[in-house]
Symmetry: C2
Subunit: 459 residues, 2 copies
């Protein structure tokens, strides 16, 4: 039953299945293999590295008690465990490298409680479902990825960093953007730990290596009626310049400002008619009461080619599904020869630095930025789309960006360290992992700085 | 009946009274003189310059029709007209320099309509009353001065620039912070003009020189339950450093961050017990759901000495009445020998620049900053309190600040130009004034760049 790449023996799996009783699971290789994947195929390098990686079993806990039982069994029998949301990431962050158990948390979707400005939820809730439950009461999640209609809140916090909404609130790492998390440890007798405030950062973008999240307390934003728009500009530079002005305009409430260079909009499928030939676009989400001010700021600098109420479920594709890493996806649907970078520009002299980097690779890289707040300053995250040739050229392009002061979170590597802007594991997270996963069984291989106390099975 | 300083004759006033019919007015010199003043006595220089300045008549319109009738009569008989809110300003901005009519708009308090995120109001509403009406529906004004419990929305927009709330939304000048205004022109046949978007900026901080505001459309903020706190620090530098970190923390929702150096808190009356001897304080307003994150960020850097729900009307003095220019007032109550500056620090290298300027005048100036957003960046407005000696020394201190890159909006001058950071009238406002007040009768003397077409009475 085990895959050739797995470190787990059939005997271990039999013991495990005996131990967990009636908790739903499947060993069907097709299902397990399919659910072990994510969108790592955006990267030609990861696509090779992660080919064939799969868990042995897919286990679907119904509640925290189930999670505790699974964690205890994995600890006892030395079986790797990789927690998992919807698998909408791009970094292979929840692809099991050593087989074992894939813990599918998507059935744990309870809203434990909700009060003004805060919600307490299980990790498996799809973010669009959460907003659908919260918005009638005047609240919504502060930020979400472009995969909101599929991605889970747990997967986002364990694997992501920010997204739509980060122009108002910054990323998940900013103080106040994760109020608390509850985790189950990977030990023979698992503990349940409540992590509040700074401590909650220990599970942020840790790929599930620092405990199994069973409950999350994200802060909320007041829900606005959002207007989504496509604005066309003569050039990417003009889309950037206006987007930056709008990003800096604190009187205009917005959730998304995404300047995208031609020819990327030519791949925008059903939005193609709203994307004039040869022009750059800015995709924006603006609160309805700020729309008039947004248009006054725009003046004649660009032309609004599409304007409508934004909705996650009106039978239309929300425009945020053309932004963040969905921009890359739109082109990949047609051209599998492209991939992307994930960059953070410094906030000072921003427009000049984006222009310099964009102009440096004509025809090879197509500009795509996302305005965000980072550390209290307006700056741009960038997900430029590039025509891939060789790993060496990709490394060279990354090196040129870094030499130019642009931080690159390399999306073509599988470890936390290599994929971070600082090329190292967060010290708190690394130390915390020793406490909660001493045997190194949680998503092994992703936090490569971690050396387990003992990785051998214990009775 | 006219005062010695007035330019208006008894004959003009008789004609005027005949023309306006039953619109309430008084010529009682005691009342008119008292209502012609504001808090310009904060400045020893203005206190001399404006001594004895008074209108001839106090007129109190009930609605826009009354305003039109008064404007027509003033135009026809060549009588100066100074519109007026509650008179809580500090710059003498609504003190009539040439007599005439003081137009008291404080009876025009109707809420014309309210929808999510926007309200349409007459100019005379006291801001605390507006919030009391809006908050039960989940909304509140985005920003208000420390005089919120007395000041009118019209006076704030015509005479102010920002205040409590500007750490989230910037000042009134930012795009989107004044959606629209309706004004009555000062002509024989007054026109009623709706100013939307950029055009609404023509009445922002124009001291009533560019038309009589009869209706305003401010955008709203979602109303949070605000927690107000006093946090004590060993030094002003530490209060600044933490306040700056909190200001930059986009995940923490806040409305006020005011670092104040000792000995200013020693003058804080009933708050004195919460202000430890010799220590600086930070006064803060934080949204209740962000309180835990605020405290986590604070850690052991400072000590919270007071924490309570903020309220405009709970029988307690709200803490914002110890911030902005109320900080100065608290000391002035005891020591009439002090006055203040109104500064804007550049956003780069902020803490070092504030420290340098604060340390330059030991014993002479006491540090007081207000964190705000300005042009999309976090920076500090500063209202340091200084021990006044001579006009020459005051000018010298201002010159030292300006040489150090700090912009000073001189609060010791009466004209718009001299009091602005750029020492000139806004070009749009100056041009607009020619259209709406060709005779230069609106608050004459305040926009000194303006030369009227004709200031002589016309039949």
């Amino acid at each position: 039953m085990t895959q050739s790449l797995s470190t787990v023996t059939d005997g271990q799996l039999v013991d495990f299945r005996d131990a967990i009783g009636d908790i739903p699971l499947t060993a069907d290789p097709g299902i397990v293999r399919r659910r072990s994947r994510d969108f790592f195929w955006y990267s030609p390098i990861l696509n090779q590295q992660l080919a064939g990686k799969t868990a042995d079993l897919l286990v679907t806990p119904r509640d925290e008690a189930d999670v505790i039982r699974v964690a205890a069994a994995c600890a006892r029998f030395g079986i790797p465990l990789t927690p998992r949301g919807a698998g909408t990431g791009n970094y292979g962050q929840a692809v099991p490298l050593a087989g074992g158990v894939l813990l599918d948390l998507s059935e744990m979707t309870k809203i434990e409680w909700h009060k003004p400005g805060v919600v307490r939820v299980e990790p498996g809730s799809v973010m669009a479902d959460l907003d659908a439950a919260l918005q009638p009461q005047g609240w919504e999640l502060r930020m979400h990825p472009s995969t909101k209609r599929k991605a889970t809140i747990g997967g986002f916090i364990a694997g992501g960093s920010g997204g739509v909404g980060s122009i108002g609130y910054g990323g998940l790492r900013e103080p106040g953007n994760i109020l608390a998390a509850r985790i189950v440890t990977l030990e023979n007798e698992p503990r349940v730990l409540e992590l509040r405030g700074d401590a909650a950062q220990k599970i942020n973008r840790a790929y599930g290596t620092t405990g199994i999240i069973t409950s999350l307390e994200p802060p909320l934003a007041p829900a606005w009626p959002w207007i989504e728009m496509i604005v066309a500009f003569e050039s990417f530079g003009e889309a950037m310049a206006f987007g930056y002005d709008a990003a800096l305009a604190d009187g205009i409430v917005k959730k998304l400002l995404s300047p995208i260079a031609w020819p990327l909009p030519s791949f925008f499928g059903e939005m193609r008619d709203a994307c004039p030939e040869g022009q750059a676009v800015l995709i924006a989400m603006v609160a309805a009461p700020s729309l008039e001010s947004f248009k006054a700021l725009l003046g004649h600098r660009g032309a609004i080619t599409l304007e409508r109420q934004s909705s996650d479920r009106a039978g239309q594709v929300p425009l945020y599904e053309y932004t963040w890493n969905h921009t890359t996806l739109q082109m990949l649907k047609t051209d599998r020869g492209v991939t992307y970078l994930q960059c953070l520009f410094p906030h000072d002299d921003l427009l000049a630095k984006v222009a310099a980097m964009t102009n440096r690779f004509p025809g090879e890289i197509h500009g795509h930025c996302e305005f965000i707040r980072f550390g209290g300053r307006v700056t741009a995250s960038a997900l430029p789309v590039l025509h891939y040739t060789t790993p060496e050229r990709l490394d060279e392009i990354i090196a040129i960006h870094e030499a130019g002061g642009v931080m690159v979170a390399n999306p073509h590597v599988v470890t936390l360290e290599d994929g971070s802007r600082h090329k190292r594991a967060d010290a708190d997270q690394l130390g915390f992992k020793r406490e909660v996963d001493p045997k190194g069984l949680l998503n092994p291989g992703k936090m490569r700085s971690f050396i387990p106390v003992s990785a051998t099975p214990q009775g």
